[in-house]
Assembly symmetry: C3
Homo-oligomer: 496 residues x 3
């Protein structure tokens, strides 16, 4: 028996040892070595982090040789000078120097600070293209260019002052905006000039002075005019796929009461399986096999990853257009509605000419929204993912509940909106019809929470099966309480 | 030295390899193989998930042979035809076909969709019996049959509409109830007829059409008239004990502001030890040894698991009647009180004939509640669990604090209730005495939060030592603020 | 190839096996063995837990021999009788018996219950000394001796009663205080006498009766008159450094809405990297190398741990004076301000003679606070930590945002405070000028939340880059809503 075990031991160790062995394999370019020579000391953390990752251990040439389903690069061909070296500092930070306004002379190289989706597209063009059609790539523009949304943002970020009995509000400071809405939506990173900094080890050096920096918002406007930040999800500099696939990554932007996706996931069965069992999973396997590599979906499993069954049959295609399997928008302002046709939602106009996907009464701006056929197609694609583990009856039952929850939440928003309208009509508050912001009075903030917090929670709780978030924790309980609060507020003022 | 190390390597690998070896050991029945032949493709995720678990790797015959303390089946004998095969699809989904209204012809088998506690009792009869005495098994009936609770549920789930200045409320849609309270409490799963579905791979097939499906609420009413869902905690289809023992599982239903148990655990010392250290623990060991297998309790450790010390002496018996070591009910409506004698709490009547365990003034319905002797017995059983790691002085000190916190929270509920009564008496709101719901006005919702959210948080924070949740995060701060808010609300209305 | 693999197997196992081997090495003193003889059975959990830890596996003599950077004891010399045995029960619980009022006769030993920082200082004197200069060591006194803070605490913990239309408040019960504010700030543990307990296995035994017990608050007053509790973070009895370094530990006290540090960390990029990747990290390595041992900071990495780069150059010194790299106090009452010079903040007096670091109008009590030079020094020390992974431009950009967020939050507190003053001036509420508590009316609670919850969240969200917590989740949204709510509240009352 002993020889057999010895053999097994050897095989086992071979497997264990093969990973680091492969990692050690990618040669480092001279240019990158020059970076490392200083940055080993200047920013040791990111150097060490990069060394743990795939970028430092595989060359593009090796990556291209992997079987198609396991391949992580989508380029058919990659520039020759990149092919046989690790994807290191210089490979990314000196790409496309002329399109980068943030290119500067650093050491002997033309380096840019902000690696952009266009840079990543050198090896990952399909992902970059898909991402460009994604709502997220346009997250900045969809906020900045929409006067309603920007009015809300200004009301959130502006600083109030009180004089006598009056409350006044100043325009938000750009740093406040960058630290608030634009943290996730993305800042505009522009080169404002040059700045000289004294480094204790390396002496005086010159760098580009950037606006809106730092930022890794999903819709960031980059110095090369591209949109987005791959590192929002593919965190630098290990770029571990297990991180992009983990729900924690998505939680960074999708956790607050306005987009309570992660909060719902946390109390869902799927979430609970993830937390309890993911120690046993292979979060890095490509392609990814439900049941075998993981036993409950993370955000990526349903919305982005390439999934196959044990026999290799494809269950879902990899997509960086995250809306591919989403047929209804749950955090629409202010009602749920079919997904927009185009990712630039600021171009939508409702029946009243306002930049919203529905009217205040709930009528959808249908010509800007996908139709029933496209909805059905996306629903079927999602059902196929669910079908990895659930019967059709189960899935259709759940989808029917989501539909009802959307109806419920929409009706509760309508009830609150009617009361808001009543307050405006009665002169108890001043809204758009009076030329005022709909967000700058207490009762308007109460109304806003109805759709921005509680309706969203109720819908997401159904979509992702985390019931609690849809009931007492910012869900149906609050939807009803808010209507009653608004009614109560109007009543005592009307009596006078 | 090398031979010794080689020997060690072999032994080490032997241990590593023995688990999968054992797993591979259970033969699969012909009936289950027939299921797998299609479901490998139809629902690959759950097939793969099942293959990772114990059910696929041990036969009941093997399970019965384990030493008593390590044994996970409680049956003395198990039907012969199940004994020597893995516990697979067919073994569970074709059990007791005649008692299952959801049995249908599928392939060549009489299959039922909903595996019930009675099915699981084939191998786990003690657990099923204990669970039946558990409050959780009756969670659905305790809600549905209690007019006060159902009035609250209707107010949560009903949809409001506003006409002019009036708020009207419609009865909740069954799908809304299923997605809200009954998600955890349990739906009634009934066969409504048949439904034919077209499968892309397998053609047209007929299935039972089920009401209240999907659901895995703890008090689900099943098509075989049994109550409960084992998979609520023993998640399909790996059925991993490490998951049932992890706090994430309990969090699915016990996290919201109404039952903030998991939120308290998260900020408790016990929780913090779990999160930081459980990578090093053996969450699957049976029996479970504090300090050795794990170093801080999860929910299961205190309420359910068989615990022994390093010498094998029993610290706590396994129990699926989770109230065995609980002497006081912390989320009673509306005051804390001794645990109910019987799990069907809807049969309780207070001094006023109302289906509550106390009156609105706090007087307990003592004849329905356990007495001091039973309380002392349960308290001692819990103290023995605490005693694994804590001195008697520590434990009694903590218990005394819980008692005081309950008094504090109850007093604060009484203060709010007096103000509510004052509002009702003054005609500022309409309550039960006026033939109206106590939950359908704003001020009544404020009052409801006092006992449903904040008193519960304050009590649980003491019970589970997560102080923060009992102070500023939904605890004492809110208890006081709510009393002041109600006082303020009454004051401005009384002046008129 | 096989011999090579065998060799690799051996080496690999040698590494694997060497750790437990070392652990088994520390001899146990006779005195500790006497403890274990009973406590193996009496409190098996903590015995087993201790056995997993470093204290049971290394003698002080071995610890002293480690290279300086890796050394975890700071004493130059350790009493001879402790040197060559494991640090066991008797080694700590019988130290300094005469200074411990809680020393009692137990078995044949003079045992004390509460191991204090002075005991730990036997081997860790530098840490004890640093900790004594820490705000945390004085957390109890800073609350108890500050009349403003204690008034807030009394309003939180006191129990209200309603008679007719009046709300009265009783003084808090000591058990309530211990379970609330003092849970983290620390109780006073005093010996009140003796208590006899009957143990089922060991018969009747006598123990000291302690006030304020159990407690492990960071500023606990111990029976030997020392301050603090090392086990607040270095959890008994494994004392694992990986736990002290994990963010969960800090979350126990820093999670609620008043100190929402952990909530911010959870949605930050740093937090997300931790959750997704820490399975791969070495949380126990001393010294700790960013990028190599871990790829995102936990609380300890920025505030306490000894950090070095891959070449061994020190990035940050180990410190138990957690304020060493903090230049601005974010949870000041009620405005942000430079850190206090001395840890006993209750000695601070503002321009009005009140025990606060600023006036209600925001003027800092500068002579009690660090000046610009000390602020710059601390900021630079923190910037060096950030510099492990980030460029100077990145870091300075983030620091500038924090400064702006502090300005924003302070301005919003000022706006609310002006409205509060207006309400007091108008007689709509009664504050300090009227000889009343500023915390005992509804509108005062609303105002309190402005600085205690929302301003803190907004500032911390900037400091730790968890944007969401500073926007809709208790951040800027609530800051604005509160001002509007207070304005609305005053308006309707003024009309009369």
């Amino acid at each position: 028996m002993r020889p057999l075990l010895c053999l097994l031991a050897c095989l086992c160790l071979l497997v264990l040892l093969s990973a680091p062995a492969a990692r050690a394999g990618a040669p480092i370019s001279e240019a990158t070595q020059a970076c490392l020579d200083c940055h080993n000391e200047a920013t040791p953390g990111i150097v060490a982090d990069w060394k743990r990752g795939r970028m430092s251990s595989k060359t593009p040439a090796q990556a291209l040789k992997e079987p198609e389903a396991a391949r992580r690069v989508s380029a058919k061909s990659i520039p020759a000078k990149l092919m046989k070296v690790a994807v290191g500092c210089a490979e990314c930070h000196t790409l496309n120097p002329k399109t980068h306004a943030d290119t500067f002379e650093h050491g002997d190289a033309q380096v840019h600070v902000v690696v952009s989706p266009k840079d990543c597209a050198t090896c990952h063009p399909t992902e970059e293209k898909q991402y460009g059609k994604n709502l997220m790539a346009h997250a900045r523009g969809n906020l900045i260019n929409n006067p309603i949304y920007m009015n809300l943002a200004d009301q959130v970020n502006g600083v109030m002052s009180v004089k006598g009995r009056k409350v006044a509000m100043a325009k938000p400071h750009p740093a406040s905006e960058a630290e608030s809405c634009l943290y996730c939506h993305g800042t505009e990173v522009k080169v404002l000039g040059k700045v000289t900094r004294e480094d204790p080890n390396f002496g005086e050096m010159s760098f580009p002075k950037l606006s809106g920096w730092p930022n890794r918002g999903v819709g960031r406007k980059n110095p090369d005019n591209s949109l987005g930040s791959c590192s929002a999800c593919h965190t630098r500099h290990q770029f571990a796929i297990e991180m992009a696939r983990s729900p924690y990554t998505c939680s960074e932007c999708h956790k607050g009461p306005d987009v309570p996706v992660y909060k719902v996931y946390q109390v869902s069965k799927h979430g609970n399986i993830f937390y309890a069992m993911h120690k046993q999973w292979d979060m890095a396997k490509v392609p990814w096999t439900p049941g075998k590599d993981f036993s409950a979906p993370t955000c990526a499993a349903c919305h982005a990853s390439l999934l196959v069954d044990a026999a290799g049959n494809q269950i879902a295609a990899r997509s960086h257009q995250m809306t591919d399997r989403i047929w209804v928008r749950l955090l629409g302002l202010i009602y749920s509605h079919p997904m927009p046709k185009e990712p630039e939602t600021w171009k939508i106009k409702n029946a009243g000419g306002v930049t919203l996907a529905t009217t205040l009464g709930g009528q959808p701006a249908s010509k800007f929204l996908i139709g029933p056929a496209e909805q059905a197609k996306r629903k079927a694609a999602m059902a196929k993912v669910c079908g990895s583990c659930h019967s059709q009856g189960w899935v259709q039952g759940q989808f029917a509940r989501l539909e009802q929850s959307n109806k419920d939440a929409d009706a509760m928003v309508l009830a609150a909106t009617r009361l808001m309208q009543e307050a405006w009509d009665q002169g108890l508050a001043s809204g758009p019809a009076q030329g005022k912001s709909p967000f700058d009075e207490f009762i308007e903030r109460v109304w806003t929470q109805q759709w921005l917090f509680y309706a969203n929670s109720t819908r997401f709780a159904s979509a992702m099966m985390g019931a609690d978030m849809g009931v007492f924790d910012q869900g149906r309980w609050e939807l009803g309480k808010t209507v009653l609060q608004m009614h109560d507020w109007i009543k005592i003022r009307q009596k006078k």
